[in-house]
């Protein structure tokens, strides 16, 4: 049997591993459980991202330890996504706000609006779609708003409070304010950064901008001595109301966008998501790449994958990831079929019988080739043997 050969470098396969040490702070509020459950959730979030490359496979394995593998032929844009993902996993704290906490913070927002706007009972309310609609629905009960006081953003009313779930860049509220026909306007959000409110008030005639809870700008600590240069880069890229970073605030209905800058195209692009579909309504809408998520389970044997060896199909190939050897191999054609049969049957005889049905070859020749194949794979550390069917102890 020929030795392992190298394929063309231009289309080389890569596998990136994500271990428990990269599970972001706060993720246990998203998914309780052990690291395998959390890496599984992260994998499901990634493949639920509209920007997820359909030819990259995410594989969860608990063997030899919890790990999420991302395997594929990554483009330059995929590399940027990977770098952004790493940046987020390392530097971002996940702040998952569940429904009870939404109610608590909405109560604070209602109190703040009453405090800041003495004649609040004379004001109408409108929501910034879509998260603002949910918050306004809750506020309508807390403030006992008559249905007639809930209007469209461009309603010709005297005084209008614009409600949103959060403001993390100010862009969405700024757009909403540009459509108003009201004489007086105020803004209320569950969560925002005070600097965004200040920036909006400097550009528009807002009566007030209040939030149920203020978020901190984490960028100075995140970027350290690079912070000023980071700010300067973003201010060169566009007319942003505010540039900074916050905890990754997540509602049961929405995971706010994470943008990454594509230097080639000169524009923001959506980064991969971090929250699994069952914990975020928005992430349930894109399921086209669900099949790129796999759960690896080591075969029962006696012949089976070696320790730290994970196999997965990508297209017509059977990819074998050797974690211990830090290499990714591909099997095609007969080799792929042989590997699959060996793992399914666990013995040379069983695999030969299965393959003889599909291939024009004598069973004896097949058994000889399978033995050569498994000896080679074993030598490479890719498979391990229990007791071979033809090697019973005497």
């Amino acid at each position: 049997m020929p030795p392992v050969t190298s394929g063309p470098g231009l289309t080389s396969l890569k596998t990136f591993t994500i271990g428990p040490d990269l599970i972001p702070v706060g993720y246990s509020a998203v998914v309780a459980g052990d690291p395998v459950d959390q890496l599984d959730a992260l994998g499901r979030a990634l493949v639920a991202s509209p920007e997820w490359p359909p030819d990259v496979t995410a594989t969860i394995s608990a063997d030899p330890g919890p790990v999420l593998l991302l395997t594929g032929r990554f483009s330059d844009e995929d590399d940027m996504q990977l770098a952004t993902l790493l940046d987020e996993l390392i530097h971002t704290r996940i702040r998952y706000v569940d429904y009870p906490e939404v109610e608590t913070v909405a109560e604070r927002l209602a109190t703040a609006l009453r405090s800041e706007i003495p004649d609040l009972d004379d004001w109408s309310f409108a929501a910034v779609p879509r998260g603002g609609l949910i918050v306004l629905g809750i506020l309508s009960y807390l403030l006992d708003l008559a249905p007639s006081r809930i209007v469209a953003l461009d309603a010709p009313v005297d005084s209008l409070v614009v409600i949103d779930d959060c403001s993390l860049s100010g862009a969405r509220i700024q757009t909403a304010l540009s459509s108003l026909k009201a004489d007086r306007a105020a803004v209320g959000t569950l969560y925002s950064v005070p600097a965004i409110g200040a920036a909006l008030r400097s550009r528009t005639e807002l009566v007030t901008f209040v939030s149920g809870e203020d978020l901190a700008d984490t960028a100075p600590a995140r970027y350290g001595t690079e912070h000023e240069r980071w700010l300067a880069r973003w201010h060169q890229r566009g007319d942003y109301l505010w540039v900074g970073t916050t905890d990754h605030l997540v509602f049961p209905w929405n995971e706010p966008d994470i943008g990454l800058w594509n230097e080639t195209e000169g524009r923001l692009k959506l980064a991969w998501r971090l929250i699994p579909p069952e914990r975020c309504l928005k992430n349930r809408t894109f399921s086209a790449h669900e099949a790129t998520l796999r759960h690896f389970v080591r075969a029962a044997g006696p012949i089976r994958q070696g320790q730290g060896v994970v196999d997965l199909p990508i297209g017509d190939e059977l990819v074998v990831v050797d974690l211990a050897g830090s290499r990714t191999l591909t099997l095609t054609g007969t080799a792929a079929a042989m590997w699959i049969s060996i793992m399914a049957e666990g013995t040379t005889a069983g695999a030969a019988a299965a393959l003889a049905v599909a291939y024009e070859v004598d069973v004896v020749d097949l058994e000889r080739d399978i033995d050569d194949f498994t000896d080679r794979l074993s030598g490479e550390g890719l498979i391990s043997f229990g007791l071979r069917n033809d090697d019973q102890p005497s």
Binding site: T15, F16, I18, A83, L89, I258, T328, M338, Y359, D369
Partner: protein, 46 residues
């Protein structure tokens, strides 16, 4: 009795086409991904 066309058989081959790295190695070759939080589409006026 049915007749099935069987696939052509050749000796199995293994090809080594790539590497395995921890995700942390991405940052060594491509620093400064510049993530930014907030509405991406609205940031572009969409």
């Amino acid at each position: 009795m049915g007749y099935e066309v069987k696939a052509e058989y050749d000796t199995p081959r293994i090809e080594e086409w790539g590497t395995v790295q921890e995700l942390t190695q991405v940052g060594l070759t491509r620093p400064g991904s510049d993530p930014k939080r907030g509405s991406v589409l609205h940031s572009q006026g969409i």
